[in-house]
């Protein structure tokens, strides 16, 4: 925990303070990490989001049909997706894919003395390794969430259009009427907070690996488990703050 807080403090220093002292971070590694963390995750995110959209629509239809209110299916899909399912499930994908990869990569670098070598070359590992990953994650997870929302809504439309008597125009109208911009923004805020948690937990686990390949494996597992737990608990807290007061 102490290590985690110290990592956060030095990250904030390198992102917010150091650039004003003339120690700018380089842009190209950020883009490289954005491709790795974000762009390469799009197929998985798309598939997940589509499945969630379809599932939500089917469940909503099942309940609402009994009331003869299947016109409200888009409402339900939209709100659930934007507020909860989108941010949470896409964060799960990114934890499984990128969080574990970052922890394993940094852990391997730690055990093969690469991080010590950087320090001895007077290259700060935080600014050289962690900052690009941090910024990339902070940009890409919300972006993936927005993309996922679109695809999820599309999945909901597919169910409504092909299996229920809802027209495309009707679906779009209902969806836009039901959702507030705040629903979208709250989801984006959530995913930004998740991004922060995922990347700092993964980096912290990776940087403090000890004891060879076994240690790298343990660090990767604990990074995944800890960020899942932290993400779900934070989600509950944020939902309470945003929608339940």
């Amino acid at each position: 925990m102490k290590n985690f807080l110290r990592l956060n403090a030095s990250l904030l220093y390198w992102v917010l303070v150091a650039p004003f002292k003339g120690q700018l971070f380089k842009i190209s590694p950020i883009f490289r990490q954005m491709v790795f963390i974000g762009v390469r995750a799009t197929p998985m995110v798309a598939l997940t989001a589509f499945s969630i959209g379809v599932t939500l629509a089917m469940q909503a239809a099942h309940s609402l049909q009994q009331l003869g209110a299947e016109i409200y299916v888009p409402d339900l899909v939209m709100v659930t997706l934007l507020r909860e399912m989108g941010p949470v499930l896409i964060a799960v994908i990114v934890i499984g894919r990128s969080g574990s990869a970052v922890a394993a990569e940094l852990g391997t670098m730690k055990v093969s003395e690469e991080i010590e070598a950087l320090e001895v070359m007077a290259i700060n590992p935080i600014s050289y390794l962690i900052v690009p990953r941090f910024i990339a994650m902070l940009i890409m997870l919300p972006a993936l969430t927005v993309l996922g929302n679109y695809i999820g809504v599309f999945g909901g439309w597919a169910v409504c259009y092909f299996a229920l008597d809802v027209t495309t125009a009707g679906y779009i109208l209902r969806a836009l009427q039901s959702a507030d911009t705040w629903d979208l923004y709250s989801g984006i805020i959530k995913s930004a907070v998740f991004a922060w948690l995922i990347i700092t937990i993964a980096c912290n686990a990776g940087l403090h690996v000890e004891g060879g390949a076994e240690g790298v494996g343990q660090a990767t597992t604990s990074a995944v488990v800890q960020s899942l737990l932290a993400m779900l608990v934070t989600n509950a807290i944020l939902t309470a703050l945003f929608f339940f007061n």
Binding site: T108, E114, V120, M121, N124, Y128
Partner: protein, 283 residues
């Protein structure tokens, strides 16, 4: 003793891990242009000593001065400033696996200088040529042999033309010809460019070829120090055993686990109990 200025000054350096003293009240100085070879059996504290000199580890007591500045009490920023002035070759090479050979050598140049890409390229080519690896720029460290990796590590350590070079076993894993090449390079750099070298090694041929002064460590203390000639004729039988590589002699053959610094928390478990645990798991 040389009349050139002191580059590294170690005074009463002590480091303990728990109850075990790994470095016991060491004092020595290194002058500009010298090649100091630090020798000693495995696990005698050579690498630990090196880590204290470069400021990666903090001593229990004592002081280390590099270029006249105390490194043990410095903050991270000050240590970074000092580290730009020396190069370090790691035992394993410690190349960044995600970068190519060329990018590894270019890394300190890109991070610490304002050279243009062309100038960086030129320097990288020149440094790789110095270690006999021209044309390897585009390969990844995983695609070259261990000895090559070590030479790339040397090229990277020399990238910024350091005043001071630390090498942790620079020639282990190299064939005799490449060992000679690396030794010749060290000699040229110290004689012609006035670089100072601190070399930790087991390789006695190489040690006697490059050293201007030698220190032999044992049990965290200096057993012997002096010029290569003085060491060769040193009366201490332990020193003679070591430099001649004899199996029988005063040096203990086995270190117990308690003598080793890295795993103070690990308790030795008898094999019998391991076998019992193994069988216990069997259906």
């Amino acid at each position: 003793m040389l009349n050139t200025p002191v580059v590294v000054e170690v005074t009463n350096l002590t480091r303990t891990f728990g109850s075990r003293t790994v470095i016991d009240n060491l004092s020595f100085t290194i002058h500009r242009g010298e090649t100091l070879v630090i020798m000693g059996g495995s696990g005698c504290g050579k690498s630990t000593l090196l880590r204290h000199i470069i400021g990666v580890m903090k001593p229990t007591a004592g002081s280390v001065k590099i270029f006249g500045e105390e490194i043990t009490t410095m903050n991270d920023r000050q240590i970074e400033e000092i580290r730009r002035r020396f190069g370090m070759l790691f035992q394993s090479g410690a190349l960044l696996a995600s970068l190519t050979v060329g990018e590894n050598v270019a890394l300190p140049l890109l991070q610490h200088t304002d050279l243009t890409i062309d100038e960086v390229d030129e320097t990288v080519t020149q440094k790789l040529q110095m270690v006999g690896l021209s044309g390897f720029n585009e390969l990844k460290p995983s695609e070259i042999s261990g000895g090559m990796r070590k030479r790339v590590g040397l090229a990277r350590a020399l990238a910024l033309d350091p005043e001071l070079l630390f090498s942790d076993e620079p020639t282990s894993g190299l064939d005799p010809i490449m060992t000679a090449v690396v030794d010749k390079l060290t000699l040229e750099l110290t004689k012609d460019e006035g670089m100072t070298a601190v070399v930790v090694t087991h390789d006695m041929t190489s040690a006697f070829r490059i050293a201007t002064r030698m220190i032999m460590l044992g049990r965290g203390k200096i057993l012997a120090q002096g010029t290569p000639e003085e060491i060769r004729t040193h009366p201490d039988p332990e020193v003679q055993q070591f430099i001649n590589g004899e199996a029988d002699g005063p040096m203990p053959l086995n270190l117990s686990q308690d003598d080793h610094e890295h795993h103070p928390h690990v308790k030795a478990r008898p094999l019998v109990s391991a076998r019992r645990r193994f069988h216990h798991k069997m259906p």
